[in-house]
Symmetry: C2
Subunit: 425 residues, 2 copies
């Protein structure tokens, strides 16, 4: 018996899949229990194809020919984007082919539609590679922790942001310098907006939230804040208070609703997530039965992502002719909480002109909104015009804090909008 | 459709399975796609059974009645040990029932025989809970990383040892005091030998090594050294050199052979495994496609272990009537390397009477065996009779080091056997 694999897109990830399928052919056949054979590659770019020995493999510039090739049992969509990728996936599902994809943006935007098409055709749509690259987190959530109600997920899901924040933390670089370094090393795209503005993490947050709570989470209900406003000063103040700054996707079940948000977050230095450095990803998951677990590895890159795509292919191959398992989405809407409803602790960096009594005025307003201060850093200004006052609040509702800050911004002594960061836990 | 679960042994883990099956019944049914129902519990201990509402569940003191109960589709063996547990598992497999177990000692000693019985009967034997409790590491190795050839596994697999070493590290306790504390908190059994002598870790090492390399690893070929000889001084010297001491299971593919060994190991403080504290477990796995990954969580305890047992049950339920997947062991023996063949760096703590020239004599002998020294700590003795000289070697074959140490032990200036610890990486 043989499972035929068709790869649409022989670029970074697709090329990795071709390479690993060839290099580890025997290992994969052993694990799958059947021969898993590359039978068709579709790509118009000759330079991508030239890298491989494709003897015996059908090569075409036509994804539809691949989809309709009777030798193809599993279609891998590895071109990305939300245009033709969606068309190809739907055509493949409607042709009753199983589909494996790494396309997080498409899943975040049209996951429900794609899953419904898979169910309607009795085939599978798998996407282990769409979140956290080589880390088998989809499998862990869907199968390994299947007996658990998920209490929360904290994810470092974007290697570019984690690399930049690591350089700001360990090498004391400015954001811009760290970004340039990430780009020079190939960890950041040009333009880098999708990463540093948090949208890539939001796509993954949407996928994990939908999966954890078997519900539809509209992408625009995911609160998103990137790392572009985090300064070297913030990193230093946070460190002084015992924290590192990480871009986290936070997914939580609260009062029958779901929180799904992405923002830079102060993580205690003693938390395992604080030890996740550079371009690595990690997901910290708390289940009601298993308690805390963590999954760590490379969240991007040719071969790590290929490892995840191949795990999906092998699972499909092992299933053979058995019925495809039901997909994650089912029709039980749960309210998605807005960011104002979040309750937590906050880091505030105020920029003042050091007018006498500023601390008193700020604290009075915060107090009037029931926001109390746990700790504070204010340095001797040494003649500087602008002075930072850094505060850590006790637990408060975000809406209350925002109302207080709206009043604080109007004080004469406040020179710039206050920088607000959320604190983990 | 319904899957009937029978639980043999309603103690710590069995009780956890019963509890979670009842509490999370709907969640489990949703994930499995079928009703997963507790139908039979076998235990002679009334006090264990009294904890649960077992209305509608058959309760017996007879495991064989449970095995032969036609309502039972999956038999959970949760009594432990290698005696009747083995008999019950074989009877269940021969009665064509799927079996889920957490019994690492039995799997390490008789895994091949049990797997063969499962294959012969076309049913499954699953054992996620046997290694690292609630962490889905068996699934990660078998499925999530299925496309990878595993280069190595480093595992913190015994919560008792990790707790004791954490107390020695962070609270500067002596081994004996830390052990008493672990026992008082219920993290260590009485007697604690299976844990602290490394045998429990060796059982898990055997299971993972067999799984990673699809081969039979005889339990007595796993090198085992516990943590009882690690002193507070060792912890302090290691820390000074930039390391923490952890009990690791190390599994590696080297030159066509396999290393499978358990011993206290110096782990660089910057390594993620160094951040795994207290009773937690973690497994660091490097695959040739995915690169490094890590899995972290609770390695023991009622509910975390139940989470793993239930994941296995849910997988069996999802499979329905499809053919059982092939088990891990197949007949391709690979040589298991002995400890003398290991190549690595070593920590040596020599106890001398501070005779002038001791360092010279020791280094001369080491040099004659091609063992070179990377760093050394020797303190002013301040009049003490016995003095520690601590050395870190460059990479060397263990056999060469042992030959040198046999000569060093005979020197007049050496007061006690030299304490040797292996260094990670």
């Amino acid at each position: 018996m043989r499972i035929g694999v068709g790869v649409i897109g022989a670029g970074t990830v697709g090329g990795g899949v071709i390479k690993a399928l060839q290099t580890n052919h025997d290992q994969i056949a052993h694990k799958a229990g059947v021969d898993v054979a590359l039978v068709h590659v579709a790509d118009l770019r000759q330079e991508c194809l030239a890298e491989f020995d494709l003897t015996g493999v059908t090569v075409s510039g036509d994804a539809e020919a691949l989809i309709n090739d009777p030798a193809v049992d599993v279609v891998c969509e590895l071109i990305g984007g939300t245009g033709v990728a969606k068309t190809f996936i739907l055509k493949a599902l409607n042709a009753r082919k199983n589909v494996v994809t790494a396309n997080k943006m498409l899943l975040a935007k049209a996951g429900v539609e794609l899953c419904q098409a898979a169910v309607a055709n009795g085939v599978e749509l798998r996407y282990e590679a769409s979140v956290a690259g080589g880390i088998p987190i989809i499998k862990a959530l869907r199968e390994g922790l299947a007996a658990n109600r998920i209490e929360f997920v904290y994810g470092i899901l974007n290697g570019t942001c984690n690399y930049i924040l690591s350089r700001m933390t360990y090498d004391r670089l400015d954001f811009g310098v760290a970004l340039s370094q990430a780009q020079a090393l190939g960890f950041a795209e040009t333009p880098p907006d999708l990463d540093i503005e948090g949208h890539d993490t939001a796509h993954k947050c949407q996928i994990l939230a939908s999966l954890c709570y078997s519900t539809q989470v509209p992408l625009d209900s995911v609160y998103v804040e990137g790392i572009t406003k985090v300064t070297r000063d913030d990193v230093a103040y946070a460190s002084e208070m015992g924290y590192l700054i990480k871009l986290l996707a936070i997914i939580r079940a609260v009062d029958g609703g779901i929180e799904a948000r992405v923002h830079p977050t102060l993580v205690p230095k003693t938390h395992l997530l604080a030890s996740v450095r550079n371009e690595f990803n990690a997901i910290y998951v708390k289940g009601d039965v298993v308690d805390a677990t963590l999954y760590y590895g490379r969240g991007a890159g040719r071969m790590p992502t290929a490892s995840a795509v191949l795990a999906d292919i092998i699972d499909i191959a092992k299933r053979g002719n058995a019925k495809a398992p039901a997909p994650f989405v089912y029709d039980k809407p749960r309210p998605i909480r807005n960011i104002g409803q979040v309750v937590g602790r906050y880091y505030l960096r105020l920029t003042t002109n050091d007018q006498a009594g500023v601390l008193g005025k700020v604290c009075t307003i915060l107090g009037e909104h029931d926001v109390s201060i746990a700790s504070c850093i204010q340095r001797d200004p040494h003649g500087k015009e602008h002075v930072h006052v850094v505060m850590m609040t006790h637990e408060t509702a975000e809406a209350a804090l925002r109302a207080a800050l709206a009043r604080i911004e109007k004080l004469d002594c406040i020179e710039e909008p206050t920088h607000v960061l959320r604190v983990l836990g």
